[in-house]
Symmetry: C2
Subunit: 227 residues, 2 copies
């Protein structure tokens, strides 16, 4: 495949240790490995945000993708756009169902896990994440999260994947749950733990994770060479 | 149009005063009015959740829609699914762009406004929303929200609507911003205030809002008649 046809994945040039393995570019690396689609990486500064970055991604986040003459942003939209036409990852007959689960992951589930994760992170490192909420506030956030996790536990009790076989819906949902689980959020949810284990055992996830970690290692080495 | 072809919008049978005008069924009522599509309403209990409700909407939320033999859930997916084929609200040439903004509204923006709204609500009514976070925690939530609102302020400085003319992306984004704005979250964001004013001045929004408020008034009357 000529280089010009290869998708470009934009991620940060460097990040501190704590988000490594969790930067959202991983979800798109995962997609590309599931598709057997080679990709190359270009970088944007973590901070301050560059004008080029903000022109591609209005919130100054990653991932962003450039492919076939178009810039893409928002993971859910990138997954839907890039997997269109892929019979296994986004079968047209299940597009509606897959879209529902993508929004469920991005809104109903992540909107419940992220505040709890931020609070847990503040407890551990207030100098980075800001002052920690009081225990009763964190408990309230945990309860909101558990309502949504309990619903997903029920859904996944009767199926291995959200919409038939493994699809892009599982890339987003499993990664949202993985991040919560790595902070201890999935205790008491054995079905969700199994789902995340099943998803992250896939070769494409393992390659995506290894790619991201290699990227940070190379970034460290480049910084050390300059210093 | 025969009744059997009419979409059914599921919302709560009754809710307390505070969420009235904000229950998410409004976004789908808004879509139907933009489409000139008649719809009818069926209800599910607010609490406890019914089995029928959970079978349609795994998180026990609203809206859910039944149309053309399919149940739909998650507002973003409902908007994308039901507007498909509608040249004005979801022009195919702009589907990717519209999908990006739908996910931006559902994830990047609402994930930043909702924690601040919950915190502000807790300050006002801890008996309903749980203990209020400390001022410095609320300030941190406000800062996270402002990062995203500032980005949207920049985007909307140069355009009236997110993707050309008014589309389903504006239904979701404007309503997410409206809810934050009604809690005082848009102070200092004149462009976003104008955007919300422009969106909510549309006849379809006004009809949707009136429909929802009439629904709660009827629910109150029905309860009074029984009592």
């Amino acid at each position: 495949m000529p280089d010009a046809d290869m998708p470009i994945l934009f991620t940060y040039e460097w990040v501190p240790d704590f988000p490594r393995g969790y930067v959202r570019d991983l979800r798109i690396r995962w997609l590309f490995h599931e598709m057997d689609q080679p990709y190359r990486v270009e970088t944007v500064p973590f901070a301050p945000k560059s004008a080029e970055h903000l022109a591609m991604q209005p919130f100054g986040q990653v991932p962003a993708v450039r492919w076939r003459g178009r810039n893409w942003f928002e993971t859910g939209a990138i997954l839907l756009g890039l997997a269109t036409g892929h019979d296994r990852l986004l079968p047209e007959a299940r597009r509606a169902e897959i879209t529902e689960w993508l929004f469920a992951a991005a809104n109903s589930v992540e909107m419940s896990t992220q505040p709890w994760i931020f609070a847990a992170a503040s407890l551990a490192a207030p100098q980075i994440f800001g002052p920690a909420p009081a225990p009763e506030v964190i408990e309230r956030l945990a309860q909101r999260m558990k309502t949504r996790l309990g619903a997903m536990e029920t859904v996944l009790t009767t199926r291995d994947w959200l919409a038939g076989d493994f699809t892009i819906a599982d890339i987003l949902m499993a990664d949202v749950l993985r991040i919560a689980g790595d902070k201890g959020g999935l205790e008491g949810y054995p079905v969700l733990q199994s789902y995340v284990a099943r998803a992250t055992a896939r070769p494409a996830f393992r390659k995506a994770h290894a790619d991201q970690m290699a990227h940070w290692a190379a970034a460290d080495a480049a910084r050390a060479a300059v210093a």
